[in-house]
């Protein structure tokens, strides 16, 4: 996918780059991104695998209502990435199933 650079009504400022990893791969997002928008801009659409049928899932509502975008972020499963701001150095992973509780919690 791509970032929208030109728009007749809106102005999108080129934000500061924010580095993070997705399943171990380094990706760069931008200031102002949610994790979901940074992934989408990088062409990643599959965020998790569904719990029983193991089907690919991505975001649906993008406003934190549907939880379809739950991922493991810095070890915390079930993080709704559509409403989580991207921060430098985040570890973002595909969530398989319901997710496991991390010892740190």
């Amino acid at each position: 996918m791509r970032r929208i650079t030109e728009h007749p009504i809106l102005t999108f400022k080129q934000g500061k780059g924010i580095k993070f990893t997705f399943d171990g791969k380094p990706i760069e997002g931008q200031e102002g991104d949610t994790i979901a928008s940074a992934l989408q801009a990088a062409g990643v659409r599959v965020f998790r695998e569904s719990i029983n049928l193991h089907r690919p899932r991505g975001f649906f509502c993008a406003i934190g209502r549907c939880a379809n975008c739950s991922m493991v972020v810095d070890g915390v499963p079930n993080t709704k990435v559509c409403v989580t701001r991207l921060r430098e150095g985040m570890t973002v992973e595909t969530q398989h199933g319901r997710g496991r509780l991390d010892n740190r919690l």
């Binding site: 007749p8 009504i9 649906f60």
Partner: protein, 628 residues
């Protein structure tokens, strides 16, 4: 425990207006919103709003959000974004989560302005990434500046579907088609016209049969339906799209109202279950008010006024006497009710009029006949004049308000069709840039002996340049003739809408209403759906717990499940992190269909706090802190 006089839940148009209104009358107001940016859905709207200047008509949604936030701040509202309310309890305590913090609030009055959530549509592979809600598409492209895809199929021709299709085109993303299952376009025709003249087909009586793709959407099959909404075999049509955008209606977000024990009623015209409320927007719990989409789906302009009504009444009923006098209250309420009445005039106000009458247990509200002259698209025989192609009786009057020559008259009843006085019109074209429907044009028949010049509002990129050769298009986006760009006007006064003028032969004066820069018409490439999709493929209804339509149908037939709660206990659908927001409406539809009953007879699942998934550790920590 935070104490406040009035707590507003939700910082969209209704909540911001409710908070500001109450604060203006002297109340101490706190506003919570679960997002870190206030403004609700307004922050995604690039188009100008309908209505009158009292509801910021002629201003773009994004700019209205800024105005409302500023106003709330000015009136002294304490704004707390990033706080998700998780429950309203019997003792009147409201709980909220802010990251890892759990807080409690004890307000005297609560105004619920939580808005709505999008309806889901289930079809084979509807859970594939690339099937997005219209709100998600808007957030991604208009807030984050990321394209949701390269080519989109839009499902639903209500205002949201039409507006988002237009916004996709503005962002340079192709829209293959807009499909609509009913036999008519439900949104404003002027919104439909904007995309039709750009060549996007709108297919009524069509629905999605299936989508396909390995890991995400690669294509979609649409199918025509008969008058009972059954698919017509052989009418399938495939589209090569990577995104399917669902704009199939909204449901009021009422979980907190259920949780608070408000009396709820199922009113289809208002979008589903809503809290019973009186004319002052007070619910059956006397300290709880409701406004905006949470009280029934309507336009943002009505949401703002409803917010003000709720804010005014909440301030009025506080135990502490504020600076609001009886006289000021009476006058303000009368004015707000008149505004709301005005916005609910005409064909588009019918649902709100009907829904609110049913809710109040009254006979249907009578809409006084609209007394405007009929619409008139005829162009003036000579010289340059505006032609108004306003299609429907929408409450809207920015064209009248902006005209410096008083050449356009809508009148006090703003659902009237605007009328042009050709004697006064100077063809200054200012009105072209202020019509939210982009339905005004200037036609100059004296441009040259052989040519008519047509000036039209233009909100796309790239902007053509004077002298460019273009193809003139008609109102359906069909090629009319070759044309030449004669003028391109932009300016601060125009607020990001440009005016592009093209010259065409006189005989096309009434048909040419748009243009395309590069001469290639849109061609739908013929593709075939992969053969491995079984004809009777199941669809996933509950995406959290992976429950399919057939599984639900089975427990209805085999286990005699008769309610949403029973199906939930048997299959876990609705128990996942979305708490039934995706599947509940679909389950109610399946139940109604299978049992041959009316959907109004089914209750949603029982709501219990916390409304949003909350880590136990946070709740335990808050409990410990309170004890010490």
């Amino acid at each position: 425990m935070i104490n406040t006089e009035i707590l507003v839940i939700g910082g969209g148009p209704a909540g911001l207006c409710a908070a500001a209104e109450a604060a203006e009358h002297g109340a101490k107001v706190l506003l919570l919103d679960d997002k870190d940016v206030l403004g609700g859905q307004l922050v995604k709207q690039t188009h100008m709003f309908f209505g009158s200047h009292l509801q910021y008509a002629g201003t773009r949604g994004i700019d209205i959000a800024t105005l409302l936030i500023e106003n709330a701040k000015k009136t002294g509202v304490e704004l707390m974004p990033g706080h998700t309310v998780t429950g309203i309890y019997e003792d009147g305590v409201v709980t909220a989560l802010n990251g890892g913090k759990f807080i409690k609030i004890k307000p005297e009055k609560i105004i619920v302005a939580t808005g709505a959530y999008e309806n889901m549509l289930a079809f084979p592979n509807s859970d594939l990434p690339g099937v997005y809600g219209a709100g998600a598409v808007q957030t991604l492209m208009n807030v984050n500046g990321v394209a949701p895809g390269n080519r989109v199929l839009m499902v639903g021709a209500g205002n949201i579907g039409l507006i988002v299709a237009y916004q996709l085109l503005q962002a340079g993303i192709d829209v293959a088609a807009v499909i609509e299952v009913t036999d008519k376009i439900g949104g404003y025709y002027v919104h439909a016209n904007k995309i039709r003249r750009m060549g996007v087909p709108i297919l009524t009586r069509h629905t999605v049969k299936q989508v396909w793709g390995k890991k995400s959407v690669e294509g979609a099959t649409v199918v025509q339906v008969d008058d009972k909404f059954r698919p017509i075999a052989g009418s399938e049509r495939n589209y090569a799209v990577d995104t399917v955008c669902l704009a199939v209606g909204l449901t009021p977000l009422t979980e907190l109202l259920w949780n608070a024990g408000c009396e709820m009623k199922y009113i289809p015209a208002l979008g589903g279950h809503v809290a019973w409320h009186d004319e002052n927007l007070r619910t059956s719990r006397e300290n709880i008010y409701v406004c905006g989409d949470a009280s029934g789906i309507e336009e943002a302009s009505s949401a703002m006024i409803e917010g003000k009504v709720a804010g005014l009444n909440a301030a009025r009923t506080l135990t502490r006497k504020t600076n609001l006098t009886q006289k000021a209250y009476d006058e303000r309420l009368k004015d707000l009710r008149a505004q709301l009445g005005q916005l609910r005039r005409g064909p588009f106000g019918e649902k709100a009029r009907m829904g609110n009458s049913v809710l109040a247990g009254l006979p249907p509200a009578i809409d006084e006949p609209i007394e405007s002259l009929p619409k008139d698209y005829r162009t003036f025989p000579k010289g340059a004049r505006v032609v108004i192609e306003c299609e429907q009786n929408i409450p809207c009057n920015p064209c009248e308000a902006i005209c410096p020559h008083n050449a356009i008259k809508v009148g006090k009843d703003i659902v009237n069709y605007p009328q042009l006085d050709p004697e006064k019109c100077t063809a200054c074209a200012l009105c072209l840039t202020r019509c939210p429907g982009l339905s005004l044009f200037v036609v100059n028949k004296d441009y040259s002996p052989t040519e008519t010049e047509i000036s039209l509002p233009f909100e796309m990129i790239p902007l053509p340049r004077k002298g460019d050769a273009v193809d003139a298009l008609d109102r359906q986006g069909n090629f009319v003739c070759k044309a030449r760009v004669t003028r391109v006007l932009t300016g601060k006064k125009f607020d990001r809408t440009s005016i592009v003028s093209i010259a065409v032969e006189h005989k096309y004066a009434d048909t040419a209403r748009h243009f395309r820069v590069n001469g290639t018409p849109r061609l739908e490439q013929k593709i075939v759906a992969p053969a491995n999709i079984p004809e009777d493929m199941d669809a996933i209804i509950c995406v959290c717990e992976d429950v399919t339509r057939r599984e639900i149908e089975k427990v209805i037939a085999r286990d005699r499940a008769q309610s949403v709660d029973e199906i939930k206990r048997l299959l876990r659908c609705g128990m996942g992190p979305c708490q039934g927001k995706t599947c509940q409406r679909l389950i109610m539809q399946i139940l109604a269909g299978k049992l041959g009953r009316n959907i109004a007879e089914f209750l949603p699942q029982t709501y219990r706090g916390p409304m949003k998934p909350a880590p136990m550790g946070i709740l335990a920590k808050a409990y410990d802190e309170e004890k010490n």
